[in-house]
């Protein structure tokens, strides 16, 4: 299904508008009652050649520029990365339920973060992001190796099952350490449930390069992904090495996911919900699926975060709770549909 250029432009513009609207809402809404007019004027004040008095105090400006803005931008990066990675996983595995989390990224990252908090003590907090990153990569590596050793004809199914086994194993070890060190329970859970809170722009700058590189590599393979979604034999007949492409795309998608997860904690279901919703709207062609997933994923997460910080204000709700509450029912719908298709 190839969209006409005009329709394609229309759909992409629509998605971009939704993302911009979501970001604007994210900047305007928060527990600190900054007036929308003040916020908009303050943003205008930062533009070149514009000098207006927004009426915001320096403290309110700090809230806007050092806390709310980086949080919205981090939401964009995390949402975009999770959605694009999910689309790539589903493409290479031809499995509608595949996403990085199913292959063990989340469990591996959770184990890594737990070990950093438990072993490192007070100093361990700085070590959480890198430890989560390493744990996530190791877990997917293990999944992949296991899947290959036992994999036969249907290796893309076997690898998902291997992911389940690796995840269960990592969860068991994580629970063991949490039981040994019950004083760290709240810290570990707080990270696991996901949180977009950032300390200024540092997290954004750390995550940005990974997201850019990962999205670029996946985008370059959009046509290959189209071919692979038909079948390995068909792809091979067109000169594509399915196993090689799968390894490359799974690696970069996992790298990007592990990077964002290390900053945001485990935010689930974005990688499954968003690409499927987009497919329902515009069909399975990756030329449109990938950019749309990116924008819709980013908008979804920014809006989820708006909910997370408003529902119980001034208290926060973990964002993973919001995405799972929306995502889990959707997951079941996808499951039903996919049974009919296969």
């Amino acid at each position: 299904m190839i969209a006409a250029p005009r329709r394609r432009a229309l759909v992409l513009t629509g998605a971009a508008s939704i993302l911009l609207a979501a970001m604007l809402l994210g900047i305007l809404v928060g527990p600190a009652g900054l007036t929308p007019g003040g916020v908009l004027l303050d943003i205008a004040d930062r533009l070149p050649f514009v000098d207006v008095d927004s009426g915001l105090t320096t403290r309110q400006q700090a809230i806007l520029w050092n806390i709310r803005m980086p949080r919205v931008v981090l939401g964009v990066l995390v949402g975009a990365m999770l959605a694009v990675a999910g689309a790539a996983y589903q493409g290479v595995f031809r499995n509608p339920l595949a996403d990085p989390y199913l292959l063990g990224v989340s469990s591996g990252a959770g184990l890594g973060a737990t070990l950093a908090i438990v072993v490192g003590g007070a100093a361990g907090f700085a070590g959480v992001p890198p430890a989560a990153f390493v744990g996530g990569m190791l877990a997917v590596g293990a999944t992949y190796a296991l899947g290959r050793t036992v994999g036969g004809v249907r290796s893309e199914v076997v690898i998902i099952l291997a992911g389940v086994a690796v995840a269960a194993f990592a969860n068991a070890i994580q629970t063991f350490f949490m039981q040994l060190h019950d004083d760290t329970l709240r810290q570990v859970y707080s990270w696991m449930l996901g949180r977009l809170a950032t300390d200024g722009w540092s997290d954004v700058l750390t995550v940005l390069p990974y997201v850019v590189v990962t999205v670029a590599i996946i985008a370059l393979h959009r046509r290959t992904l189209d071919v692979m979604s038909v079948g390995d034999v068909e792809a091979a007949s067109l000169g594509i090495h399915p196993a090689r492409v799968r390894l490359l795309l799974v690696s970069v998608a996992t790298l990007g996911t592990a990077a964002v997860v290390s900053a945001s904690g485990l935010i689930g279901f974005v990688g499954i919900v968003v690409p499927h919703a987009v497919r329902l709207l515009v069909g399975p062609g990756h030329r449109l699926l990938l950019p749309l997933s990116l924008m819709v994923g980013a908008a979804f997460l920014v809006l989820a975060d708006v909910l997370a910080r408003s529902v119980m204000a001034p208290a926060e709700l973990p964002i993973g709770v919001v995405t799972a509450a929306v995502g889990a029912p959707f997951f079941l719908v996808v499951l039903r549909r996919s049974r009919g298709v296969r």
């Binding site: 004083d183 949180r195 809170a197 001034p314």
Partner: protein, 299 residues
């Protein structure tokens, strides 16, 4: 501090319990404190404490000599017989290995009570106190169960007198000071509606955290907007947070408390174990509050 009715009722019930437990022996409450005969046949001689708070309470009421083992988290007083017993995931067999005749725990985790009952061991469950009155009640409860009724009553009276003295020394303020108490570096905090919130309220402080959940996770922007007069850090031990770390957080340098140097580290253990050392905590916080000028600007 008025004694409320429910507490009086509870104390009465406990006295009955103590009398029954003592097998209607002639328990003489009028004996002078400190002279309680702990060698009496019906008083527990081998107590296992499975929570740091109850350990502190047992020693404070003079039952320390009867304690044979305390859990791995108990670290005060330092001469308590620390073991690797877990109060969080208690193991009945491991507890029975110390041949206790009384086990004190803060929750009936994993059917602890039923398991110990099978072996004929009494269990006293003292859940985390919700108010200062709960602390007094629990001290009296422990006194009744261990044969130290007089000392427990004396300790409670002493605590009440100390607290009254601390409160009397506080300056008068027209509007209460606001505070943000940080429990960990993801900004979990406390409302007025918690034990620590009650303590702070008595000392003339109001939490910036509100809502039905006593321990909400706040967002950084909310803390900045509320601009608390004082910041208490109860996450120095867990998370390495210090006043310097707080000052370096993006945007936090704009806070009055940071600028005026009113960011204080509280001892996490004392500020989360609602036992006899709560008086120490109140004295410490009162010292901080008393040092803040009454004319402190509260924008």
């Amino acid at each position: 501090m008025p004694v409320n009715d429910s507490r009086r009722w509870l104390a009465a019930g406990l006295t009955v319990f103590a009398l029954l437990a003592a097998g209607c022996s002639s328990s003489d409450d009028s004996s002078p404190a400190g002279e309680t005969d702990t060698a009496a046949a019906d008083v527990p001689q081998a107590i296992v404490s499975l929570s740091p708070t109850s350990t502190e309470m047992l020693y404070a009421i003079g039952a320390g000599d009867q304690v044979v083992a305390v859990d791995d988290r108990s670290d005060y007083p330092t001469d308590a017989p620390v073991t690797d017993l877990s109060g969080y995931t208690p193991n009945v067999e491991a507890i029975l290995g110390y041949e206790p005749d009384l086990v004190v725990a803060n929750a009936d985790t994993g059917d602890l009570v039923a398991g110990l009952e099978q072996a004929g061991v009494e269990t006293l469950i003292l859940p985390a106190a919700q108010t200062l009155d709960d602390t007094y009640t629990q001290l009296e409860q422990l006194g009744a169960a261990t044969g130290h009724v007089g000392e427990a009553a004396e300790l409670v009276a002493q605590m009440q007198a100390d607290i009254e003295e601390i409160l009397a020394g506080l300056p008068e303020r027209e509007t209460p000071l606001t505070y943000y108490q940080e429990l960990d570096n993801t900004f979990y905090s406390v409302t007025d509606d918690t034990y620590i919130g009650e303590i702070h309220s008595m000392l003339g402080l109001t939490s910036i955290a509100t809502g039905s959940n006593g321990y909400p996770q706040l967002s950084a922007e909310y803390v900045l907007e509320q601009n608390p007069d004082v910041i208490f850090l109860a996450d120095g031990q867990c998370c390495g947070v210090t006043p310097e770390v707080v000052a370096q957080r993006a945007g936090w340098e704009e806070l009055t408390a940071v600028r005026e140097g009113r960011v204080y580290v509280l001892d996490e253990d004392i500020a989360s174990r609602w036992g006899p050392r709560v008086v120490d905590l109140m004295r410490e916080v009162a010292g901080i509050v008393g040092g803040i000028p009454v004319t402190a600007p509260t924008p």
